[in-house]
């Protein structure tokens, strides 16, 4: 019951913090300090927003914990937040979590890295040169819509049960969002910008470098975000399919042996990693696109 109370305490803390800031705001408005009052208002908006999000998650955890402890659900099948935390700590201490995480991470980095190295240039070429577009478009469409996991048996036959087959699946999962986004980026270059470049004597290469590449940055970031998400799906799917290590394997094995706590530890680690990757990319996006922010 302890964590339940802690959750409730945190909730009231968030609320009282909000209230205090609100009072601070009113006082500042009265003082007529517009700039700092604006900043404070923004901060308050931010804080209450985050508090709201945290409250929802924490409430769900609380409900889960209560349900497990009161016997409303069978802990054998549902586990509970406290059990998951304890199992997680054990797994961190004995190194199993690190081992599985690193195994998955290695495949992820290699697979997504290859997708970037191959997907961006192919996508750029397919968008920039009409004949490359015509040559590759049917192939891209065919692969883009197909569930990549269906290829896993083939990859295992080709590359064996080792790392290569998994990397191949990650690559096939992660490459298309990048490829298609870069292709679209090249096809969506404002013709007026191209005209300016041409009028000032830009060569094809200069047009590409000074107009096409900078204007494709937002597309690149969207592509990266999508492909990093797809890449994670690919890693987990590949590891569930076969192998002896990695988070996917861990989840699959734990599930088969009714270690629900372990399944949830795996899920939490994957979700946490996903959030970190996504947030850092979003952060980079706001920095790189500073000219867009300025214009709004």
């Amino acid at each position: 019951m302890n964590s339940d109370i802690a959750v409730a305490k945190r909730q009231t803390l968030a609320e009282s913090l909000g209230g205090a800031l609100a009072r601070l705001r009113t006082r500042n408005d009265a003082a007529g300090n517009v700039a700092s009052s604006f900043r404070r208002r923004k901060l308050l908006e931010n804080l209450t927003g985050q508090a709201l999000g945290a409250t929802v998650i924490l409430s769900l955890f609380a409900a889960w914990e209560i349900a497990a402890r009161t016997g409303l659900v069978d802990p054998m099948f549902s586990s509970s937040p406290s059990a998951v935390v304890l199992t997680g700590i054990t797994m961190i201490n004995d190194g199993t979590l690190a081992r599985h995480f690193l195994a998955s991470f290695k495949i992820y980095v290699v697979g997504v890295g290859l997708s970037i190295l191959l997907g961006v240039p192919i996508g750029v070429a397919a968008g920039w040169f009409k004949w490359v577009n015509r040559a590759f478009s049917p192939l891209i469409s065919a692969f883009y819509t197909m569930p990549r996991i269906a290829l896993m048996p083939v990859f295992i036959i080709w590359f064996g049960l080792g790392m290569e087959a998994k990397v191949a699946l990650v690559l096939m999962s992660a490459i298309f969002p990048l490829l298609v986004n870069m292709q679209v980026a090249m096809q969506n270059i404002d013709p007026e910008f191209k005209r300016v470049g041409v009028a000032y004597g830009a060569s094809q290469w200069q047009l590409f470098r000074t107009v096409a590449l900078p204007s494709s940055v937002p597309f690149l970031l969207t592509g990266l975000r999508l492909s990093m998400g797809r890449g994670m799906l690919g890693v987990i799917a590949a590891e569930i399919f076969g192998g002896a290590e990695g988070l996917g394997y861990l989840i699959q094995y734990a599930g088969a042996t009714f270690q629900i706590d372990v399944v949830f530890v795996g899920v939490v680690v994957i979700a946490g990693f996903g959030v970190i990757v996504d947030r850092s990319l979003a952060h980079i996006a706001t920095r790189v696109d500073s000219w867009k922010i300025t214009s709004s």
Binding site: V196, Y200, A202, S290, K292
Partner: protein, 296 residues
């Protein structure tokens, strides 16, 4: 790269007999005109049907060094096509365009275009937008910066070097557009309805600013506009185009004294010339409408 800036030194074209008509143009020492267009015909192919449309039919035009010449005509009459052909952005079906005695059919450093829409590259700040044309020529960065400073001052944008276009007003964007062209120090400056996208008050301010800039630089200018007052205020000569396909209906000399200031608008000659041009445009339009034929 610099040798192409002075190709007229080797020009062999003999001085034209009819050239005396513009004897009171500011610079008559140069025997070879800065712009010499002969019997220019421009046709467009409809992308769907393949049908040919004539935009310009046999226009000849010469501009001496230091002259400010404006083409006026109704919207869609082919005047912008003519300007684009001079800029090298549109290919002529027949006829010839020579800049300082050298035939041209593509953009070159001897001309610079100020576009109707500012079309600044949004990922480049003001300074980098101004230096765009020079950057494309691969000039040393230091020299480029130095040159840009002069034109930053000329268009009164000092202090805004590091602003991104999105943060600028329409008038300021248009000044960057102008500076971007001026900094390349072209022999012929091309202005495509440069103030048409601005509100009336900003437009008038920009016209006066352009007048002041011209007084300082004495560039050879070919402008296209449908604002009659703008044409009279700025030009030495105004060329009236017929509705499409464009032909020259008349040529009006604006014999208002130089250097001009905004007060010139109150000169009786100003109104007289403006009315003449107005009548010519509308007469040619009426003939065009009633007979479907081009005015003689």
């Amino acid at each position: 790269m610099n040798d192409v800036l002075a190709p007229w030194r080797s020009a062999t074209e003999p001085p034209d007999a009819g050239w005396g008509e513009v004897a009171d143009a500011p610079a008559r020492r140069e025997s070879v005109p800065i712009l010499d267009v002969k019997d220019l015909v421009i046709t467009y192919e409809n992308q769907q049907t393949g049908a040919q449309t004539e935009a310009v039919r046999g226009v000849s035009l010469r501009i001496a060094e230091g002259e400010f010449v404006t083409i006026v005509g109704l919207s869609g009459c082919g005047k912008t096509s003519f300007l684009n052909a001079v800029a090298g952005l549109v290919k002529a079906a027949s006829g010839s365009i020579a800049v300082a005695g050298r035939l041209v059919d593509r953009p070159g450093p001897d001309r610079a275009m100020v576009f109707q829409k500012a079309t600044l590259l949004p990922w480049r700040n003001v300074l980098d937008n101004i230096t765009y044309g020079l950057d494309l020529r691969g000039l040393p960065k230091k020299q480029v910066r130095l040159r840009a400073q002069k034109y930053l001052d000329l268009v009164q944008l000092r202090g805004f070097e590091h602003f991104f276009p999105g943060a600028l007003s329409g008038g300021m964007q248009q000044r960057v557009n102008l500076a971007r062209a001026l900094v390349t120090e072209p022999q012929l400056l091309l202005l495509d309805e440069p103030f048409a996208a601005l509100d009336a008050i900003t437009r008038e301010a920009m016209q006066h600013e352009l007048l002041a800039i011209w007084n300082q630089t004495r560039k050879t200018v070919l402008m296209v506009t449908h604002q009659i007052d703008e044409a009279v205020l700025l030009s030495d000569r105004v060329i009236v185009f017929s509705p499409r396909p464009a032909r020259i209906v008349a040529e009006i000399r604006i014999n208002l004294p130089r250097p001009r200031s905004a007060e010139v608008r109150f000169d009786a000659v100003f109104d007289q010339r403006a009315k003449e041009i107005f009548d010519l445009i509308h007469k040619s339009n009426l003939i065009h409408k009633s007979t479907g034929k081009v005015a003689p």
